[in-house]
Symmetry: C2
Subunit: 255 residues, 2 copies
Amino acid sequence: MLNELRNIKLVIGYDGTDFSGWQRQENSRTIQGEIEYFLSQMTREDILLNGAGRTDAGVHADGMVAHFHTASAIGCDDFLRGLNAMLPGAIRIFSAEEAAPSFHARFSAIGKEYQYEIYIGRIHPPRLRLHTLHVTAALDIHAIRKGLTIITGTHDFSSFENSGSRDKNVWSGRGAVRTIRQALLLEHSIELFSLQFNGDGFLRNMIRNIVGTLIEVGRGKTTPQEFAAILAAKDRTTAGPTAPAHGLWLKKVLY
Amino acid sequence: MLNELRNIKLVIGYDGTDFSGWQRQENSRTIQGEIEYFLSQMTREDILLNGAGRTDAGVHADGMVAHFHTASAIGCDDFLRGLNAMLPGAIRIFSAEEAAPSFHARFSAIGKEYQYEIYIGRIHPPRLRLHTLHVTAALDIHAIRKGLTIITGTHDFSSFENSGSRDKNVWSGRGAVRTIRQALLLEHSIELFSLQFNGDGFLRNMIRNIVGTLIEVGRGKTTPQEFAAILAAKDRTTAGPTAPAHGLWLKKVLY
């Protein structure tokens, strides 16, 4: 047991606006890079922070989960306080706790919940500009809900996958097949709604591609029937544009 | 009538984070400066934008009002669209309309409504960090409400006025006497509340000084009775600290 390292689980929130996404990069500011830097300072170890997934530049999170191994004796609450004292306010550690040795933020996850926020009033309030997508075209909410019903369940989501981006090692065997357990349109006010996706896993840019295409459905450019045909085509070239990163929130990782 | 200029009224929202306040300054980015710059470009006139008041660096607005005179024939909706197309997303024009020649954003106003937002959860969510004050100390909401009752009505607010800042020309005659028509604590969730102030006018930093002192009341450092004595003392040195700018929102100007 002497060589057994502690395994610490972090729940993390961030405003992705000023970061080049989650994943560490040489000359860019990233969430993983910032947290690893301060964890390494605290522990005087070379800490590797394993996230449950990667979020792209500009994507936000309320509930990213990550784990790291350490020989340090620093208490979990001291990790929480120390990191929050050193990190910029755009990154917050919501919790830090001891996890089982076998816990892996990515491989132990059984799913994730994302939310894509859309503001449909005429003028985009400055307060919401970095965290919601502004759509000024009239949207048929009923048609979007039909689209959400169509993608719910187990499907091959090739039509909504960005090419060349799948990690074959991890997802080997199931290709582009994923299960969306629940896809809901939540109306927060007359001018603000969000699309919530709960699934066992998501392909790269899958949600942003689905949302971009659902906005076309809402605008009447694509019918719900055509949307069903796009899904069935398993061909990325049939789908609509990729919705911008700044409306997307990783809400929860499910274990 | 040939020389009569049009009078245009704007309702403006802004995220004050990256600006040195409302008022135009030589080498700083300000709300007034940005809007005047683009109005002058559109009209090819030297436009002076008169705001209903000045907000300090970092203070936000949902409903600032301003007016300007112009000989231009540009329609109000074109001003709205043009400005919103050129201005940064941190500043939005919510409406532009023709006003009576006598309308003056500042002198016609009969009052203003401000809101100060306070987040009391343990960890400040990144999304709220620039728009709410984070207070981690336990706050006695009941005591703060008592304080709000105490300042409601017509009082000499010298204790909450920043020295040397009053505009004698405008407020001559009434000194530091102001009327707060309504002061409410609004609970938005378990972790977020705001203090709303509706009054006929506010001295410089008055709300931030009141809020800073009310937080002391909430923390139990100052009793409601002591708060009443601070108000009665008419002496700035008796009050608590000035609350930070970033929790403050100008919500409405009343006419």
